[in-house]
Symmetry: C2
Subunit: 469 residues, 2 copies
C-alpha cells in the first residue's frame, strides 16, 4: 500500500489533502517558502498523530507539524513531505478557573483560548498580532514571545505540562499541572521551541492569570531610549512589576504604518522620533475601581507620572487612553507590524535581542552600518523594548540572496558584539539556518545535534529545521 | 601515570585530597550516604575542571561534581570516584545592578551572593535553610526551590546563562544575559536540574530583583487549609502578586521544633493545628514608606486583612512582625526544618507536590494511610503551601529498608492519584531512584536515557544519579 493510502486509512479520506487541496500547505504566509507537500494530513486525535508518525518512520517520509502556519522562519515548509496539520485537534479540554490553568489541544487558536478564559475573568497572557490564526502547537513549537513577555514570560514560562508524540510514535505524558516538579531532566522545555524536530506536541497544560480589572494604556514620546528605560523602571517599581507592555515604535515605523493605511492616525499631532506604547494592568481594587469622579486610579497614576516627566523634559508628549476604543487603537498600531513587514516585499527580517541597556547602541550602529553598506536600503524597526527584543527589517536595494545574506551578517556582527542573540522569539526554521551555523556556540550546536540524532535517529521529524545541515 | 598523579598535575598537590583529607566528601550531611571517593579534587578554574573531566574520560573513572554538599538525595555520593569540588571557584565575577544580574562561579555560597547584591539594594531571591553552605553549582544542579518560588520561580526561572563543562571536556558557552533567546534547543534548562549527569556547571548569569523596601511578615493560624488558600488569593490579588512566602507549619511541626530546642517559642499562646507564615514584599513607596504615625502601610494592610478575617472566623489568631528581630524569629522557625528532619533520625524524607487545591486531601489521606500501615510511626509535615509542595517526613517503627520503601510507595500512591509529583524540589540523586523507576512516564524515562547516552556515552558524569539503572 502506498503512503497516501495508508494515511487515508488512519485519518479518513476527507482528511488527506493532495494537489490543489493541499495548496494552503504549499506556501507560508510571508510567501518566502514554497513547495508542495506529498500530502497534508489532518489527524483528529493524539492516537492518529501517533499512527501517522509511525507510518512516516516505516516509510522513511519526513513529517512536518503545522499549526496556524503563521511563523516567519519557514518552520512548516514541507516540500514532498507529510504536512501534519493539527487544526482538527482544537478542543479546549478544560478551563479550571480556581487552579488558574487550562488543558488545550495543539490546534486551539490563540484567540479562541483568550476568549474562553476571559469568560472566567482570567487571561492567557501570550499575545501577538497573529493571535487570530496562530495555534497553540505552533506557539509551543517556537516558544513564541510577544508583547506581554515583560510581565508574564514567554511560552515556556506559561506552560506547565505537555503531551508529545515522539519520533517513535510513542506518546510521552508530561501533562502535569504542577509548579514544582523535579522528577528528572526538564523535557518540557526541551520540546518547547524545538519546532517539531524532536516530536509533535499534541496537548498542553497552560497557566492562566487574573484578568487585570483595569488597564492604563498610553502612547508616550521620549527624547531618547534612555529616558524610555528610566520611565519603565519607575513604573515597574511603583506598580510592583505590573507593566504588561512597553513597545517601541520609532518614526520609521509610524511612517510605514501611514503609508500602508492612509486612514491610520499618527499617535501625536507632532512627529516624534521615539514613540513608546505603555500598558499597566491593575488587579488590586485600590488601583482598578472607578473613583467617585469617574477616574480610574491606575490611569490617573500613569497620567501623573507622565505629566511630571513632561515637566522635566524626560517625556515630550503623552496620551493616556480614556476608553477601550482608544486602547484598541493604540494596540492596533503595534499589532500591524507583521503586516507592514510582509507588505514591504521580501526583506531581511531580523528578530534579535540585546541587553536592555544596549538597545540604543544597537539601533545607532545598525543604522550607520546599513547606510554605509547600501545607502538606498530601506528599513523599519519595532521593538519589545522592555525585553531588549528588536525587530529590524531591511529591504536592500539589491534583491539577490547574497545581498540579503550580507545584510543579515552585518546585523549579526553588531548583535554578537553587544552580547545579544540572533533569534529572540521567532525561532530558527529555515530562515536562520545560516545564523545558527555562523553564530551559535559550536559546543552547544554539537550537543543539539547529539540530542536530535538520539531522539530521531531516522531523521523523520521536520528535518532541516533548527539545526543546519 | 596513575589518575591521582595526573589530577595533581592538573590542579596542584594541595588540591587533591585522599584518605582522611577527603573525609568531608565521604559522607553527606544527612548521614544516609557514605563511601570514600578515589580522590577529592578542587579545580580553581573552568579550564582545570575541563582537564579533570578529560582525564576521567580517558581513565574511565566517573566524576561527581560537589558544590555545597547540602543535598538530601545523595546526589554527591562518590564512592571510588573523583569528587570534583567546586569550592575554589567561588568568585562573584560581576554584579551589574542596572541590568539586575550577576555573573557567578559555581562555588559561590548562596548567602555570599545574597550579601553581595544586598549592598546594591537587590535580592537574589532563592533562599532556603542551608543557604549558608549551599553553593550555586548545587542549586543549579538540582533546580533548587525554597520559600520564595511562589513569587520569583525556581532556579531555572532565575538563571539566564550557563557555562558547562561537557562530558567530552569541551566548554559550552551559554552565558547569555538575555530574557529572550530562541537560538535552538533550550539546553540551559536541560543542564539545570540534571545533577551533573550531563556535564558540570561552572558558572552562571543569574537574575536579580529590587529588594523590597518593606516586608510584612506574619504568623497566622487558620481553621483549615481552605481558609489558608483563600487568604493567599486575597493577598495576591490585592498586592499584585507580592506574596513572597506562604509556609505551612502544622502542630506536629511546631511540636517537633519545641522538642528539638526547648528555648524555641510557640507562635501563639494557644496551640493551633494549622499555622502559616506569610510574607509580603513591597517595592512601591506608597506601600513601603513609614507613615507619620510610624506605621508601614504594607504591614498595616496585612493587619487589617487579618483582623477582618479573625472577625469572620477565617483566621483564628495572627501576629504581624513589628521589628526585624520578630521577622527573623518567624523565619528561623521555618528554616529549622532541615535540622528537625535530620534530628529525627533516618526517616522517609518525601518532597512531593500536588495541585494547590489537593494539599488538604493529600495530608488527610497520608495521615490515615500511615496510621493504618504503622500505628507507631511518627511523622512531621512542613509545606511551601503556595506551591503545593509538601515535605512529609515519616519515621516508621520498623527501621528496615523494606519498611521505609513501603512507606515511600504508600505516599507515592496518594501523590500519583492526586496528579502530583514524587519530587518537587530536592531532585532525584540516589534517594528517589526507586520512585523514578516506578512512577515516571516510561516514554519520558526512555527519552532521558537516550539523552544521557548521547551526551555521555562513556557514562563518566555522575553515573547512577537521576536515571535508575
Amino acid at each position: 500500500m502506498d503512503v497516501i493510502a495508508e494515511l487515508r486509512d488512519i485519518v479518513g479520506d476527507a482528511h488527506v489533502l493532495t494537489g490543489a487541496d493541499a495548496a494552503p500547505f504549499a506556501r507560508d504566509w510571508t510567501g518566502a517558502y514554497e513547495g508542495e507537500p506529498l500530502a497534508a494530513v489532518r489527524p483528529g486525535s493524539t492516537e492518529e498523530v501517533a499512527a501517522v508518525v509511525k507510518l512516516a518512520g516505516r516509510a522513511g517520509v519526513p513529517v512536518v507539524p503545522v499549526a496556524g502556519n503563521t511563523g516567519l522562519m519557514g518552520g512548516t515548509h514541507a516540500p514532498g513531505r507529510i504536512a501534519l496539520s493539527l487544526e482538527r485537534m482544537n478542543r479546549i479540554r478544560e478551563v479550571r478557573a480556581p487552579s488558574r490553568l487550562a488543558v488545550v489541544e495543539a490546534g486551539v487558536v490563540l484567540s479562541q483560548l483568550h476568549e474562553a478564559v476571559e469568560a472566567e475573568d482570567l487571561v492567557f497572557p501570550l499575545t501577538f498580532g497573529a493571535r487570530g490564526s496562530a495555534r497553540i502547537g505552533g506557539v509551543l513549537g517556537t516558544n513564541a514571545g510577544g508583547s506581554n513577555v515583560l510581565r508574564y514570560g514567554n511560552t515556556r514560562a506559561l506552560c506547565l505540562g505537555l503531551e508529545v508524540v515522539l519520533p517513535s510514535g510513542e506518546v510521552m505524558d508530561l501533562m502535569t499541572e504542577l509548579v514544582k516538579d523535579n522528577s528528572g531532566y526538564d523535557l518540557r522545555d526541551l520540546f518547547i521551541g524545538a519546532e517539531g524536530t524532536l516530536g509533535i506536541i499534541t496537548a498542553a497544560v497552560v497557566r492562566l492569570f487574573p484578568k487585570p480589572a483595569a488597564y492604563a494604556t498610553a502612547m508616550v514620546s521620549v527624547p531618547d531610549l534612555d529616558a524610555g528605560l528610566q520611565l519603565l523602571n519607575e513604573l515597574q517599581t511603583a506598580t510592583g512589576g505590573a507593566v504588561e507592555a512597553f513597545e517601541y515604535m520609532p518614526k520609521t515605523y509610524i511612517d510605514a504604518h501611514i503609508a500602508h493605511d492612509p486612514k491610520a492616525k499618527r499617535p501625536f499631532d507632532d512627529e516624534y522620533e521615539h514613540n513608546i506604547m505603555v500598558e499597566i494592568g491593575a488587579t488590586a481594587p485600590r488601583d482598578a475601581e472607578v473613583a467617585a469622579d469617574g477616574t480610574v486610579p491606575v490611569q490617573s497614576y500613569l497620567e501623573e507620572v507622565l505629566a511630571e516627566r513632561i515637566e522635566s523634559g524626560q517625556v515630550l508628549d503623552a496620551m493616556v487612553a480614556r476608553s477601550e476604543a482608544q486602547r484598541r487603537e493604540i494596540w492596533a498600531r503595534r499589532e500591524i507590524a507583521g503586516e507592514l513587514t510582509v507588505a514591504g516585499g521580501p526583506g531581511v527580517i531580523t528578530d534579535v535581542s540585546v541587553p536592555l541597556d544596549a538597545v540604543a547602541r544597537f539601533l545607532d550602529r545598525a543604522d550607520d552600518a546599513i547606510a554605509k553598506a547600501d545607502p538606498a536600503a530601506r528599513s523599519m524597526v519595532v521593538s519589545h523594548l522592555g525585553d531588549g527584543n528588536i525587530h529590524l527589517t531591511i529591504w536592500p536595494s539589491d534583491h539577490s540572496e547574497a545581498a540579503h545574506d550580507a545584510m543579515m551578517e552585518l546585523v549579526e556582527d553588531i548583535v554578537a558584539d553587544l552580547g545579544g542573540s540572533f533569534s529572540a522569539e521567532h525561532g530558527i526554521g529555515l530562515g536562520k539556518q545560516g545564523s545558527m551555523r555562523r553564530r551559535k556556540d559550536p559546543a552547544a550546536l554539537a550537543v543539539m545535534r547529539q540530542i536530535k540524532a538520539a531522539l530521531d535517529p531516522g531523521g523523520i521529524m521536520n528535518p532541516g529545521k533548527v539545526l543546519p545541515a
